[in-house]
């Protein structure tokens, strides 16, 4: 490998390590278990969504509906527990079903109705943003709220459900690692293994790179594409569950940034290890990169309103890295 190859392959990782080193020196208290956990926690939900959208990027698609799937799942969880007075398990299952169903519909629209992926999932995004407001006539869901028919909703978030957002596992230090971080790490490992080491993942990459060749190699291309959207939908709904558990209510105004942050993480992931292609490891690193940068800047007293700007800069740099430097742009 030439120097240039090394730069493309490891440049982004080096940049990440450099960033950590810089903050370690410049920001007091950046190097501590609590700080590290905080970073992970801050990117957990975005990261889960980003891992899901990676699956659709792998088959050459895109899913813009993930943010609204997550917020719909959050509202559904709140509705199931607060209004229908069901337990945590029912709420979780309802959320996962919603995610899978939306994924199926997305896949069907794209594969069988031939709607371009961006447009189909954009439509689905709008549909869900509207749909999640209908059952409560646009109100947020919390215990004691008044329903449209005048009754009062008496259910409440079950403790088991809230634990998903608040419980912390011991890890050398008592009460260190939140459930959401564990979920992120487990899902990251799962999807990474799935994409890199199973024949399904391999075929999904083939579909994304040359659909006709994959079909002539005997792959059921349509099924693979639909499955990718189902994965994306289910991951997004898991993100929604974590969001609901963290907030403890069905907040109509939350989750605005989820889509953009998740997509940014997945696209930054293209640049990691010079793959110039969607990959689970890159996505996880991409999400962390953003988290570390924001945490570091916050600790150095950068105002909160600069955050989006910083994310944007990172994304643009990463994209230039991917498409110009490695010269292997695919999309």
């Amino acid at each position: 490998m030439t120097l240039r190859d090394y730069a493309i392959r490891y440049g982004f990782i080096v940049l990440l390590l450099g960033l950590v080193a810089y903050f370690a020196i410049a920001a007091d208290g950046f190097v501590s278990p609590q700080s590290a956990v905080f970073i992970f926690q801050s990117v957990a939900i975005t990261g889960v969504l980003a891992l899901g959208v990676t699956a659709t990027l792998v088959v050459g698609g895109f899913d813009l509906s993930i943010g609204s799937v997550a917020t719909s799942a959050m509202m559904a969880a709140a509705y199931v527990m607060v209004v229908l007075e069901q337990n945590a398990l029912v709420a979780v299952i309802a959320c996962l079903l919603i995610g899978a169903l939306v994924g199926l519909i997305n896949g069907w629209l794209i594969v069988y109705m031939r709607v371009p992926d961006l447009l189909a999932t954009l439509g689905m995004m709008f549909l869900l943003v509207g749909l999640q407001r209908i059952p409560t006539e646009g109100r947020s869901i919390a215990t004691g709220m008044t329903m449209p028919d005048g009754s009062v909703a008496n259910g409440k978030f079950s403790d088991a459900f809230l634990a998903l957002g608040r419980h912390r596992f011991d890890f050398f230090i008592p009460n260190l690692i939140p459930v959401s971080v564990v979920v992120l790490l487990v899902l990251a490992l799962l999807i990474w293994f799935f994409l890199e080491y199973t024949r399904f993942g391999r075929m999904m990459y083939a579909v994304g790179s040359n659909e006709r060749a994959a079909e002539l190699a005997g792959a059921p291309v349509k099924a693979y594409k639909i499955w990718a959207y189902v994965i994306s939908g289910v991951f997004a709904s898991i993100g929604g569950i974590l969001l609901a558990a963290r907030l403890g209510r069905g907040d109509i105004a939350s989750g605005n940034n989820l889509l953009l942050d998740a997509v940014a993480a997945a696209l930054i992931g293209y640049a990691v290890l010079g793959g110039a292609k969607p990959n689970a490891f890159g996505t996880a690193v991409g999400a962390l990169f953003v988290g570390i940068l924001l945490q570091g800047l916050t600790m150095m007293n950068a105002p909160y309103y600069t955050q989006d700007f910083v994310k944007g800069v990172v994304l643009v740099v990463a994209l230039v890295f991917t498409f110009a430097l490695s010269g292997r742009g695919r999309r």
Binding site: T198, N210, A219, K277
Partner: protein, 503 residues
Amino acid sequence: MVGNAVFRVEGLRKSFGRNEVLGGISLELHSGEVTVLMGANGAGKSTLVKIVSGVYERGGGTMTLAGQDFAPNTPAEAIRAGVVTVHQNINDGVVADLDVATNLTLDRLSGRGVPTLFNPARVRREAKAVADRMGLAIDLKARVSDLSLADRQMVAIARALAHQPKVLILDEPTSSLSSVEADRLFALVDRLREQGVAILYISHRMSDIRRLADRIVSMRDGVVSGAFDAKPLDYEGAVNAMLGRKVHLDRIVVRSSAKAVLTVDGLRIAQGARPISLTLGDGEIVAVTGLVGVGKTALAETLFGVRRPLAGAMTMNGKPYAPRSAGDAIAAGVFLVAKDRATSGIVGGFNIERNVSLPFLRRMSSLSVLKRRLERATARRQIEELGIVCRSEKDEMSALSGGNQQKVMVARWMAQSAALFILDEPFQGVDISARRDIAAKLRASANGRATLVFVTELDEALETADRILVMSEHTIVGEHRNADIDLDRLLAEVAGGPLHSAA
């Protein structure tokens, strides 16, 4: 009949890297004549057209138009000078979302001295003038996307003719037209011929050529291999010159087979085509030859399950065989090396190893987890078997030459043993040594399966096959044992000549 040569090409050369595509082409076009250019894929026709129309720069030689030196740097320059090309892909010549009138005057929308504002009335006026001159009877307000393919092509040609060219190049204009639609095109070509336009007509279709040609020029391997202008035109000679009939040096030992692997009975692959029946035997290599567009790929895809036959039945090793997908076919042991590896074979994001393992991932995994060691061992074995020139099995496909890329495609499907091995144009864009390697490999490994090779070039069939079938008009019109072939009869069948019509 013989007019002045209005357009003259002499000693035209072009190379891409070390690969010489045109090796000194000389050609004359006369006013009021249709010169048909024939040539198999890779003969260099499209390169020639692209040089003449100003897309490529020529590597050497001269071109003159009406006595003046002709050296276009851009397509626009060529058009302005009076050399207009209508490309094969109809939709490249029109803008689907605009109406006919705008399409006809599209080339006047940009350039120097064009008013900034778009004046619909003026556009319609100019478009009407263009349409009238050509006798074009299409609603000028219709959107091009609502027109039939034939009408779109008329618009594309009319648009080209709005420049009042001296030379018109039509690149396989009938390849996607029905015969009625083609008749309209021929009438138009006749009209242009009378108006004194010099026409270069590129086609494989013998019926077109018989109908239109005043002269025929055959191309092969980047040189003119035959020019025919004596009446009556020698069509079979032209086909022969195009396909070539070099004495093949390494004459093969022809085998015949006793045990049938695949039996095809009454298979119809196109509307109005006569049914196909054939038997393929164990250990034999059968080549199917015929001109472009006679249904070779359709037959290959039908056998491979990606296209449904209209009628007929197939039997594989005694059992009924009716694949509904490529997956079905592969499970039954039918493998296809598809035509045009860049679009239907190579997965660009994968290295050699992963391209080789692609169809057999299920067999190379346990509990769906890939056995990477087995994958690598298979790739290494196949690289060795086919003599693929590469640094390692991790090389990207884009780093390989065309011949080696094709070897990877063949290696992919030879990694497991097939019952029926189909190769569709396996020698396209493959250098001579790789072609020899692949053919030798096919012959050496032929036992235990039936092998079916679809090729346009006769040489390739003669070099590889035990038996040669000839296709024309979506059916099989002739069969030859590759031992003492009656080449005249074979060529007549390929050309779809009287022998076939009488049959």
